[in-house]
């Protein structure tokens, strides 16, 4: 089915480890986004990409790295995970319209 999929759905990792969250969309949308959702903060933008090989920082980029070698994929890497990065991560994509469409999320726990 067409849409946006994230993997894994759940991940537990240890402090200091590198972890990569995957995002894949089948709509050929140009724009892709990574958000994190925490109680009391709502959804906050980490990084976004306007097209393949074009990425830029959002509101809370520190500790995260992204890449976009193909239009359909937008992985998010935590280079050295910290407990403060425990959160639910959402990937989203946007086509020509203004609205963004979200994946099902990845719940990440850093212990």
């Amino acid at each position: 089915d067409a849409g946006i999929t994230q993997s894994p759905r759940y991940k537990i990792t240890e402090t200091g480890r590198q972890v990569t969250l995957m995002c894949h969309q089948t709509w050929s949308h140009s724009y892709m986004f990574w958000y994190r959702q925490d109680l009391g903060h709502g959804l906050r933008l980490i990084y976004y990409s306007a097209a393949a090989d074009i990425t830029d920082k959002g509101e809370v980029p520190d500790g995260y790295v992204v890449s976009r070698s193909k239009t359909e994929n937008f992985p998010l890497t935590l280079e050295s995970a910290t407990r403060s990065q425990t959160s639910v991560y959402f990937c989203a994509s946007k086509g020509r319209g203004l609205e963004a469409f979200f994946g099902q999320g990845t719940r990440l726990t850093v212990v």
Binding site: A50, L98, F102, G105
Partner: protein, 114 residues
């Protein structure tokens, strides 16, 4: 500073009891106001885009309206399946251009009891 505030934080309704959720915003240049529904353990599901003050949109029991300072999501005769968190977001034409990076509120948790 761009800001989106939703109220109430939580709302409990009886089935059939109509009500409204509020989203007040301050943004330097509005480029769309968006309503999403989020079920537990799932990603936000797009509901509506409102572009300018005075605009209204409807979908089943939901109706969204927009003024220059706030938006309302009216729920008419709600059913238990309408229970979810409703998120409001705004796009700022001066922030992100065509990318339209969104600024989200913290949501209203709606519970509809049978």
């Amino acid at each position: 500073e761009d800001q989106v505030t939703q109220s109430p934080e939580a709302l409990r309704l009886q089935e059939g009891e109509s009500s409204s959720l509020n989203c007040s915003y301050t943004v330097s240049g509005l480029r769309g106001l968006f309503w999403y529904r989020q079920d537990p353990g799932k990603g936000p599901e797009f509901l509506f885009t409102l572009y300018s003050a005075g605009e209204e949109k409807e979908k089943e029991r939901l109706k969204a309206t927009l003024t220059k300072k706030e938006s309302f999501l009216h729920i008419t005769a709600p059913k238990p399946e309408d229970s979810a968190t409703y998120l409001c977001a705004v796009g700022n034409m001066n922030y992100g251009g065509a990318t339209n990076k969104l600024i989200f509120g913290t949501g209203t948790l709606l519970a509809v009891q049978p």
